[in-house]
């Protein structure tokens, strides 16, 4: 579980846009960068090179 206060200040490191926390997949979603950042051992991994690219369908789902 990610801390709520932490989620309030986290943004996408690439675009500085907002993030959506997908609890099911345990990922932080940046629609503006079309990237999903993993959360490993309860630690958000906010590195562009570790993020997964979102497909167009996924982007639509999160909208």
């Amino acid at each position: 579980m990610l801390d709520k206060k932490l989620l309030e200040i986290l943004v996408c490191p690439v675009t500085k846009g907002p993030l959506i926390y997908d609890r099911e997949r345990n990922e932080l979603i940046s629609l503006s960068a079309r990237l999903a950042y993993p959360v490993r051992d309860d630690i958000p991994v906010m590195l562009e090179e570790e993020a997964r690219e979102l497909s167009a369908e996924e982007v639509e789902q999160y909208r």
């Binding site: 801390d3 206060k5 932490l6 309030e8 200040i9 986290l10 943004v11 996408c12 490191p13 690439v14 500085k16 950042y37 490993r40 051992d41 630690i43 958000p44 991994v45 906010m46 590195l47 562009e48 570790e50």
Partner: protein
């Protein structure tokens, strides 16, 4: 305010003994830190003869950190500086450690420091979300000082304070030679004897090379001013330990 200067300023040139280019540097340095995390505090304690923790706390206080502050500690590593910051800000404050190496962060978590994996050059934090930003002995490991300082300014609230701890070779020839002997040869040797970990030994040898090759303090001070910081100062202890302090202007027009 005049346009902020934009230029690239790597903290040190490419060190070909260790890596051929910037992309490889990131990967290799991260791997070195990942492998050394479990040994790092021990090495640091030996290296600074156990005075390091008290010094860090005093440096934070000198820089104006107070109770209730929201702190970001970039390049937090095993969390030594972040933990000192937690002691000072107390329960009303908040400290977040940021570092690219999960191996180092595992130690910070053990200390009770909240952390995220990230880099100073691209902080995953909202504009103006920190009252105080610190970085202890990690400046040499970013890819570009200007990009990093611009990010620090963005994440600090107007009037927020910055503290960078960094060592520089002493100006005297003898001091330089002695520090080189100590950091380049003695510390890696002790590290090897104490940990039997080749990666940790290599990291400590690399440590000196980045110190020796680092851009001079004057360039770091200038880069801070160029990134839009005010009250930019450097306080030096024993001719080696530098404390850079600066503030984000209260209003963007009045103070520059």
């Amino acid at each position: 305010m005049p346009d902020k200067e934009t230029y690239r300023l790597p903290p040190h040139p490419v060190l070909r003994d260790y890596y051929p280019d910037e992309a490889t540097r990131r990967r290799k340095v991260r791997a070195l830190f990942d492998a050394s995390g479990a040994h790092y505090d021990w090495i640091n304690a030996v290296m600074s003869l156990r005075t390091g923790e008290r010094y860090r706390r005093e440096a934070l206080e000198r820089a104006g950190l107070g109770a209730g502050d929201r702190v970001v500690d970039v390049g937090c590593g095993t969390g030594v500086l972040a933990q000192k910051a937690m002691d000072i800000v107390g329960p009303e404050g908040r400290v977040l450690g940021v570092d690219p190496s999960p191996g180092m962060l595992a130690e910070a978590v053990r200390r009770g420091v909240p952390v995220v994996v990230g880099r100073g050059e691209a902080l995953p934090l909202a504009d103006g979300s920190a009252d105080f930003l610190s970085m202890g002995y990690a400046l040499r490991h970013v890819s570009d000082l200007m990009r990093t300082f611009t990010e620090y300014r963005r994440v600090l609230r107007p009037g927020g304070r910055l503290l960078l701890l960094e060592i520089a070779p002493p100006r005297s020839r003898l001091g330089h030679v002695l520090l080189r002997l100590y950091l380049k040869y003695l510390v890696p040797a002790i590290t090897w004897l104490g940990t039997r970990n080749p990666q940790a030994r290599l990291l400590m040898s690399y440590y000196w090379d980045t110190v020796e090759q680092c851009v001079p303090p004057e360039r770091i001070l200038q880069a801070l001013r160029d990134a839009g910081f005010v009250e930019v100062r450097r306080h030096v202890l024993f001719g080696i330990f530098g404390e850079y302090t600066a503030r984000r202007p209260q209003s963007e027009t009045a103070e520059t």
